[in-house]
Amino acid sequence: MDAAIGDALFGRLFRGRVHSVFAQAVNFAASRTRLYSLVAEELDDAPGTVRVRVSQDRPLDNLGIRPGDAVISTAGGLSCGSVPVLAANVRPWSPTLPPFPSTPAGRRRLAASLDIFINAIVAYGREGGLKAFISGDARTLIEKRLVERAAAVVSAFVAGSPDEALTTGKGLIGLGTGLTPSGDDFLAGMMVIINMPAGPFDRQHRKVAAALAAGAETGTVSRAMLRHAARGRTRAGVVALLEAMTDRPPHDVAAAARKVLCSGATSGTDLAAGIAAGLSAGLELAGEEEE
């Protein structure tokens, strides 16, 4: 469980409603901006999320939980519809990003990892969203629009133009198909990189990320994701990927990359594209500092 939500869910009286139900996740909200998720134990730890062990014969969308059901505190934890979640069974977890490499050797290693990561996106990523930003093969109107706007956001961040980054970033929010539109996933990936400790991105960049997340006009699930990402909070698989890219051998990078790419329908690929864009921009900025 995300340690940051332990108190809100289990330390005081909680009242919320089920927002959406999927086979491996139930999202529930306490307000427009506070969204939480119960996810199957097989999935990653993630911000705002409690991993739960459900009976293996019954996925979460087969437990009778419906959108609008009450989620309330009980003596031992929470009740989500008719399904109990016991506080004693959850283990706290916190996302801790590894530092951006501070030495030229470390950045060369990161650049080599980035090549592997980009190859993995091209090889294993799913089309339809921002894979085209990496592969250069935008075919549909949505893909073309996404690529054009993502490129503008990245340029603005690299150029250190906060106003332009904010304007172009807004143009990407909510754009694309799916529960979390591709543009949101991409921005979330970039925001995570902007928040890597000791990185080349400064307070201005982080303020732009926070402003984008705060004003995000997108779906509830996406909005919650962006708010976490703007504070450098991301799922365990992404943390593992960044750890591998900064400090592990190439085959660990490839394996971690594939795990990120496997998540969601196209979300894993769109998030990966944002991470790759953020790292690439970061290396460019760090290179300028050296010069």
Partner: protein, 491 residues
């Protein structure tokens, strides 16, 4: 033009589902534009840009789904929206009735009589799931690829010790007790057992068995690496042993690309102790009768002919199929070629079909592409599932002044695209037109690997290709022979 919008409040589908349904709606007759997106301001902006943002769509919230259609008529709009509604309703109904499990162990507890697991998960997780299946006493059909050779050897060794089969990795075709698994064709049941180390090779043999009046008892796959020196043919040998004992099997067919010599020796030795007639097609060999009554077939079609003859108590035909008529057809086509047209361009969905055809090509300068190969399918569907991936290659071939023959396969069956010929036909027309405009004749030879009982229907698929101007071949080998004859000066 008419625009219709359907707003679905608080409705969520994943992006792949929405893209697939959007493509289906866009392909509906009369529909010129179809979009299904969450109603975020940016997506509304996108809709406005293409003239699909109505007042109702503009009023929708970011957690609502917009389905927008532009079509030539109200009826076409309605039909496309009905298509979306029908597909999502079926999906909801499936969710209610389908039993799904979060682990293999749970599925085994629910279905204690099951003895086979079909595994199709990303390669890095596949070996773990296959081990779980073997632990539970299940045979495995491993559709996943990208499984390491070490894992494959370990899984097959474990299965062998337990008396179980591991079909795969990268095994795409099997028919077990009459049930077609993954990519397989609707073929008659009978007394011919087939073991294939190649998916479309197995499909080609089984459809010819069906066309010749025969039927199959079991069709088992081994995965393409099984007959390599490292794996050593563990599964080919175990499948051969299993079919030797199977009462419903009277004749056995083994299909593979040429195996490692050491493995070929082991297989030939095992065949000699098999009490049933065995037909072997190691692609590229010649028709021959080996020791112990083993029949070696040069082509996949010949393997099927030999098996059907043996299954009915006859001797396999001693002569290869007659190609006299094909030679005449080739002469006619050759006469239409412009100077400089000398090459075959084979664009294949089936890897083994591609290999079989490539072996027939005379001389040099020909290009055969297996578009189902990993190099072409990374991050994309297989061309048997999405045949439109082949269309740019068809048009590219048409622009190449050296290309005389375009050779295509169209693979039908369960799991394949519902209308591959329909998707391909317009590109064939366009390709021939491109060549004609440049003063050339492009001979398009197509082969449909399938049966009339397949969901796509062989006859209907063939008529679409013929209407587009393709010459139809009766088998993959015959198509390849015809292509070779067209470009060969000696024939």
């Amino acid at each position: 033009m008419t625009v219709r919008i359907d707003i679905r409040e608080n409705t969520y589908y994943d992006s792949v589902t929405l893209m697939a349904l959007t493509q289906k709606m866009a392909a509906h007759p009369g529909v010129t534009e179809a979009v299904a997106v969450m109603a975020t301001p940016m997506n509304k902006d996108l809709l406005a840009g293409v003239g699909l943002l109505t007042a109702a769509a503009d009023a929708a919230g970011a957690d609502d789904l917009i389905v927008a259609i532009r079509a030539e008529s109200d009826a076409a709009c309605e039909a496309a929206l009905a298509l979306f509604a029908g597909a999502t309703a079926r999906r909801a109904e499936d969710k209610k009735t389908a039993v799904s499990f979060t682990s293999l162990d749970a599925a085994v507890r629910h279905l204690p009589g099951a003895n086979l697991a079909v595994i199709s998960v990303p390669g890095e997780y596949a070996a773990r799931e296959a081990r779980a299946a073997l632990r539970n006493g299940l045979h495995v059909m491993l559709f996943s690829d990208n499984v390491s050779l070490a894992d494959e050897i370990d899984l097959k060794t474990t299965a062998h010790e337990k008396g179980l089969l591991v079909m795969g990795p990268d095994c795409g075709t099997a028919i077990v007790n009459g049930v077609a698994l993954c990519f397989a064709n609707a073929v008659r049941r009978g007394n011919i057992g087939v073991v294939g180390a190649s998916g479309t090779g197995t499909q080609e043999v089984t459809v010819h068995i069906d066309r010749l009046g025969g039927g199959v008892s079991q069709v088992l796959g081994t995965g393409g690496r099984d007959l390599g020196a490292e794996v050593g043919g563990i599964m080919m040998l175990d499948c051969l042993a299993a079919l030797s004992k199977d009462e419903a099997t009277g004749v056995i067919v083994l299909i593979s690309k040429p195996p490692a010599p050491s493995v070929a020796d082991k297989i030939v030795a095992a065949i000699q102790t098999c009490p049933k007639p065995v037909v072997v097609c190691f692609l590229g060999g010649a028709n021959a009768v080996g020791a112990g009554g083993t029949y070696f077939a040069a082509t996949l079609e010949e393997a099927a002919r030999a098996a059907v003859a043996l299954a009915t108590g006859d001797k396999p035909p001693s002569q290869a199929c007659s190609h006299e008529k094909l030679a005449t057809m080739a002469t006619v086509a050759r006469a239409k070629l412009a100077p400089g047209q000398h090459a075959i361009r084979g664009l294949y969905c089936g890897g083994t079909l591609c290999q079989e055809a490539a072996r027939t090509a005379p001389g040099e300068g020909h290009i055969f592409i297996d578009l189902g190969d990993d190099d072409y399918t990374k991050g994309k569907p297989h061309p048997m599932i999405e045949p439109s991936l082949r269309l740019p290659y068809i048009l590219e071939a048409a622009r190449d002044p050296s290309v005389a023959v375009l050779l295509l396969d169209v693979v039908l069956g369960y799991g394949a695209h519902p209308d591959p010929a329909g998707v391909t036909a317009s590109a064939i027309v366009q390709a021939r037109e491109i060549a004609r405009a440049a003063g050339r004749h492009l001979e398009v030879i197509a082969y449909v690997c399938g049966t009339d009982a397949d969901p796509q229907g062989k006859a209907g698929q063939e008529s679409k290709l013929a209407a587009a101007g393709a010459t139809l071949a009766k088998s993959n080998a015959r198509g390849a022979y015809l292509a070779a004859a067209v470009v060969s000066r000696e024939v």
